[in-house]
Structures are given as C-alpha cells and as structure tokens.
C-alpha cells in the first residue's frame, strides 16, 4: 500500500518538480546559444514534452517494484495483455538504446564479455546484460521484474537473452514464439501463436495476482491501435516537401510507441506532436532549413552517432524523410482489433517486418520510397542485428534498379562504437552525397 502510494507520488509530485527544473536549465542554456546557426529548422516544441514523458516513465519505474507488477518486455511483444493487467513495463531494448546514445555500451559490454558473453552477440544484449550484472544504468534504477516477456518476432536472439535474464534474476519467462512468415502466415501458424497468447493471459494474470479483465483488454487494445495510428500520422507528415522534421527526430520520438504503447500518455503525446507537425507543414517549416535531397533509412539507427550523422547529412541538405524502423511501429499496430484482441494480436504480431521474408521487406522499402518520394536510400548493415541486415545486398540492388535511386550500404552497429570505423564510414557517406551534387 505504502509502496503503491510512493510509486504514484513519484509520478505525480516529485517528477513534475524535476522536469520544471530541467526546463528552466534548458531555457537558460538556449538563451546563451547563438540564434540562427546550423542547418536545421526551428526545433520541435514537443521535444520537451517527450523528454518529460520518458523521464517520467523511468523515474516512476524506480519505485515500481513492490508497488505494481513489473515486467521486462521485448519491443515486439503483444504488450496489451500486460498493460491490461496493470504491469509497469520496462523495455530493455529502449533502455539499451538510451545507453547507446550516451556511448555507455563499451563499458557495459566489457562487463558482459568478462562474464563470458560473446562479442558477436547483439550489442543491445551485451548492453543490457552488462547493465544487469554491474547494476549500472543512466536512469538511476531499473525496477526488478516479476515476469520476463519475450516474443521471437524480432529475432531468435531475444529468446537466449531473456533466458539469461531469467537465470540471473530468478524470475519466470513467458515466451510467445512466432513462426517466420513466408508470404502470409498460415491458419495453423496463427492458431499456434493465439494459443500461446491465451496461455500468456493466465500466466501473467497469476503473476500480477488478479485475472485478466476482458473489458480492460478491449480498452487497452483500442488505445494501442490508436497510438499506432497517431504515430503513423506523425510519420506521414514527412510526405510533405519540405518534411517538417528530420528522420533523426523520428528515431528519438519512437520511444513512446515502443515503451508506452497502449497508454493514454503515449497517445496524448502523439496527438500533440502530430498537430505540431501538421502546423509546420501548413506553414512550410522544415526539419532542415533547406531540404535538397530526401532519403530513406533501413534498419536500426546508429544510436551513438545519430547526431553526428544527422549533422553531416543536414549540412548538405539531406534528410531522412522515412525509415523502415520507425515505420514498423505504425504499420504493425493498426492491425490489432478491439473486437478480437487475442486473435488480431496473434496475426499482427506475427507479421512484423523482421518476421517476414525478403520479398515482403522489399515491398515495404519500395512502398516507402514511393510514398515519401525519396531520391536515395541508406541501408544500414548492422553488425549486431543480423535478421535486419541479412539480404540487404539484394535489397540494395533491387531498389537501385527498380526505382532508379542511389542506394548506399553502410556498415555500422546500432549500439557499439567499437564496431564502427568512423573515418572510412563517414567517407562513404560523403562520397554518397557527392554523387547527388
């Protein structure tokens, strides 16, 4: 009871004071900066609210264990069930990305590697296991889970990762295994996933201490679908010329749809963002001061170099107007249906981009290239994320040949700067851009 009150209080009272303090510091910093510099358009007003929202989420999380049930969840997990049961969810991938941006991965990975985990593992995994083993985190504290929830629709690595978490933390693991889809999932594949979701409802209900309320699940499903729709509308604003924000902005704004999907807080934020973007489109305000070339990005962002990349590109008038990564969160979620929460979740979560074959991936890239009228594409060949990077040589050739656009294959890693050769890499980027001039 007391813990619950502290959890609520952390969100309602302590946190607003902290954010007010940060906002004040932010204003102070801004007033000191020279106005008008740099290749970017005016910053998004919503960004401050985004920081508040995410900081609030992590801050409240510090007080979550013991107050509410806590689950650690993979990004592609059918989270609606957990949400309906009142779980506070932590997304290790989102947390790892946060560490990546702050270049903490080498430090955390060293801990994981010293414990025997291979450097060839995904850098999210190494970041997370290193964080768990060393109890280090940039967010103060992560609440301990009572449940680990893993869905293999993004990769098989997550299964082994979560098994290790289960071993270290001594908590149960629920698995939703989604067979890889060639074309469209067959009826028996969907039945197999649906059965697991039904079991999930029972197991998670037992862990949370109360059974799943069917009405609440319908409500959460509706909210989650609405969130995906709103996120899609935010992304679609970039069909305008100039795009009202940069692709890099999009990478950062993905946090709520990943970590807070199915909550009103998430949807409220995206409404605000969408309105701001649409207003910028109406006024012709761009993410760049001068948008000369429009690009598509495939695969995860290179978190530790995101700002560097965006500046290098922006200085020459290049903007990512679409990315398959941010699009995935708009695309998948709209398929869930409040009238059939479990059946539609089985279908939707089985058909996410990383669980589909290459022709499907090519279709998505082709469609995004056309919808967003891009002149070029960068396919990030991510050393860590094998399922996303496999087949990119063929995708590159097909995209270039079919759409007549320039396509660059850029080798990097989403979280580990040790796998990124900055000098040759930036050289490739520069040569790619020179090709447009």
């Amino acid at each position: 009871m007391l813990r619950r009150a502290r959890y609520e209080l952390a969100g309602r009272a302590a946190f607003p004071i902290l954010t007010a303090l940060e906002a004040w510091q932010h204003r102070l910093k801004r007033s000191r900066k020279q106005p008008g510099g740099g290749p970017f358009g005016p910053p998004l007003e919503s960004v401050r609210r985004l920081k508040e929202l995410m900081a609030h989420h992590y801050f409240q999380g510090r007080y979550a264990d013991g107050a509410v049930p806590v689950a650690w969840v993979t990004s592609g997990f059918p989270v609606e069930v957990l949400r309906a049961l009142g779980f506070h969810t932590v997304y290790p991938e989102n947390h790892a990305a946060l560490c990546g941006v702050q270049r903490l991965t080498p430090e955390y990975s060293d801990v994981a590697e010293a414990a025997g985990y291979s450097r060839d593992l995904c850098s999210y995994v190494r970041t997370d296991l290193g964080s768990v083993l060393s109890s280090k985190t940039p967010v103060g504290r992560l609440p301990r889970p009572q449940l680990l929830a893993c869905c293999t629709n993004i990769c098989q690595t997550v299964l082994y990762w979560y098994r290790e978490l289960s071993r270290h933390l001594g908590v149960p693991l629920v698995l939703v295994d989604t067979p890889f889809v060639h074309g469209t999932a067959s009826a028996h594949q969907l039945a197999y996933v649906k059965e697991q979701l039904e079991e999930l409802c029972l197991v998670a209900g037992r862990v949370s201490g109360k059974p799943l309320d069917a009405e609440r699940l319908v409500e959460v499903t509706r909210t989650a679908r609405e969130g995906s729709r709103l996120w899609g509308e935010c992304l679609a604003a970039s069909r305008a010329r100039p795009a009202p924000w940069t692709g890099i902005d999009g990478f950062f704004h993905i946090a709520p749809i990943v970590a807070l999907r199915g909550t009103e807080a998430c949807n409220g934020y995206y409404r605000l963002l969408r309105d701001e973007l649409e207003d910028r489109v109406a006024r012709g305000v761009g993410g760049l001061k001068e948008e000369k070339h429009r690009l598509l990005w495939d695969n995860l962002p290179v978190w530790f170099a995101v700002r560097r990349f965006s500046t290098l590109l922006a200085e020459r008038g290049f903007n990512f107007v679409s990315t398959s990564y941010t699009d995935a969160w708009a695309e998948a979620g709209v398929g869930i249906d409040p009238d059939d929460p479990i059946g539609s979740a089985a279908r939707t979560y089985t058909h996410v981009i990383l669980n589909q074959d290459l022709p499907n991936r090519l279709d998505i890239l082709r469609r995004l290239s056309r919808d967003y009228a891009v002149d070029g594409a960068i396919l990030h060949s991510d050393r860590s994320c094998k399922p996303y990077s496999i087949g990119q040589v063929d995708l590159r050739e097909r995209l270039a040949a079919e759409l007549g656009i320039r396509v660059l294959l850029l080798e990097a890693d989403h979280n580990d700067p040790r796998s990124w050769a900055a000098e040759p890499g930036e050289n490739r980027l520069a040569a790619f851009m020179e090709g447009f001039e």
Binding site: V393, E397, A400, R406, L409, E411, W420, A421, E423, P424, G425, N427, R428, A430, A431, E434, G435, F436, E437
Partner: protein
C-alpha cells in the same frame, strides 16, 4: 544538380591525394594532362607535406594555381575544392580512359569498386569492409613476411604450380597462417599466387552486380603488380586495363574537379 560537363578544362590546376600510404600531387595543363608530379610516402604532418609538394608544383607552373584535394587527409589541405577519393578517382579515370566504365582502385588501406557514368559521375560504388584485408597493405605485410621483393612478385606467381590457399581474412591472422604454411614446407610461389587469387576474388565479390562488358579499369598502387592484374582478370572474367600512372588517378581527379568550378 546536373553533373557539370567534363573535359572543358581551361587552366592549370594542382590535385593532391593524401592517402594512407602515400601522398600524391599532380599539376595538370589546360588539356587535363599531367605535366608535373610528386609522390612520397605519407607523412603524419599532412599540412607540412602537402604545402611543400604544392609549392614545388607551383614553382614548376610559374604561377599560383588552384588546388583540389582528396584522400583521407584531404580536409587538412589548403584547397579550393575538397572531394572524397571516390568522386576523384571516377573523374581521373574518366579523363584517362575517355569514358565511363567500372573502376577498381586498390590502394594501401582500401579497395573501391566504382561505377562511372558516361559523364564521369559516380553512379555506384562499393568498398572493402572496415579492415585491411583485401588491400595493398595486406599484400605488403604478407610479402614482407615471405621475403618476396615487390618487383619479383609477378615472377613468383607465374612460376607457381597449384595455388596454396590462405583462408584467414584478417591481415594479422593471415600473417601467422603464412608462417605456418612456410614451416610446413609449402612453396612461397604457391602461397603468393594463392594470396593474389584470394584478394582478386574478394574484389570480384565487391564488383558483383555492377554491370558492364568492357575492360575493368584499374588504379592505385596495387595496379603496378602484374600478378594482381592477371589474378583480377581471371576472377572478374573480364580484361583489366591498368590506367597510366595508376597511383596518380585520384590526384588527377582532384585537379580536374577544381577546374570544373572555374567559369
């Protein structure tokens, strides 16, 4: 922006290519021909070295001329125009070959495959992984280990019977692999040939999917190695044309690029 017309050079210019192994500078005349050249091992003090090379070429020209720079150290050169070596190699090769085509540039630190359009523009390119395997440095290290002088490489490869396979793709590991092959009594000739074939097949993999039927153009220091030229032609299944003064192609492109900007 449309690619500017090439070949309309109207003055003299200097091009500097600061590579990982060597530093190159050329002076070109109004017709885009190389009329002065300097080539030295790369020095860590880029500003000093390039300043000296440029001053020497300016003295040859007798007048101040604009400078274009390329290569890894390009940003540290006092130049009117700075472009990546990918763009400059394309410009240089286009001028030397008199048209577009597929260029393989094998330098000290990287190998590039560049598709050049009819106007000298880069239509597509690919480079070796972020590692020295498949580059001039790789060959240099291993040949030094085998004590094969560079000017005898072609003879070694030609004399070889069956090639000996060197399976490691890492320069450091390949070096130790070669040591054990030698210890096993494998002939140096076979190892040299095996190395060249392995390298050539890696280049051919980079060139995969880049169309064209004419000769593949070759530039960079490795182009002076006849054994590599033979191995490449074999792996690519196409004739290979070594560009004249292959090490200077990037510098030439840098000089030409600066002339494009002069109205």
């Amino acid at each position: 922006m449309k690619a500017p017309a090439r070949g309309a050079v109207t003055g003299v210019a200097i091009g500097v290519d600061v590579g990982s192994t060597s530093c190159k500078a050329v002076l070109v005349d109004g017709a885009g021909r190389i009329v002065g050249r300097r080539l030295e091992p790369a020095h860590p003090r880029v500003e000093e070295q390039t300043g000296r090379l440029v001053a020497a070429l300016v003295a040859e020209a007798g007048v101040e001329v604009p400078v274009g720079a390329t290569g890894y150290g390009r940003k540290r050169v006092a130049a009117a125009r700075v472009l990546t070596e990918i763009t400059c190699h394309a410009r240089g090769a286009h001028a030397l070959h008199g048209g577009g085509g597929l260029l393989v540039d094998m330098g000290g630190q990287d190998t590039k495959v560049i598709a050049i359009g009819p106007a000298g523009d880069v239509t597509d390119f690919a480079m070796n992984d972020k590692c020295a395997a498949g580059t001039g440095r790789f060959l240099e290290v291993i040949l030094a280990r085998l004590q094969v002088p560079l000017d005898e490489v072609a003879g070694y490869a030609a004399r070889a019977g069956a090639p000996v396979t060197v399976s490691s793709t890492c320069t450091v590991f390949a070096e130790s692999e070669v040591i054990s092959l030698v210890a096993e009594g494998r002939p140096a000739e076979g190892i040299v040939r095996g190395l060249h074939l392995a390298l050539a097949s890696r280049v051919a993999a980079l060139a995969r999917g880049r169309p064209g039927t004419g000769p593949v153009l070759l530039s960079g220091g490795v182009a002076l190695n006849a054994a590599m030229v033979t191995a490449l032609a074999e792996a690519l299944g196409r004739p290979v044309r070594v560009l004249p003064e292959p090490q200077l192609v990037g510098a030439l492109g840098a000089a030409l690029s600066v002339l494009e900007r002069i109205p």
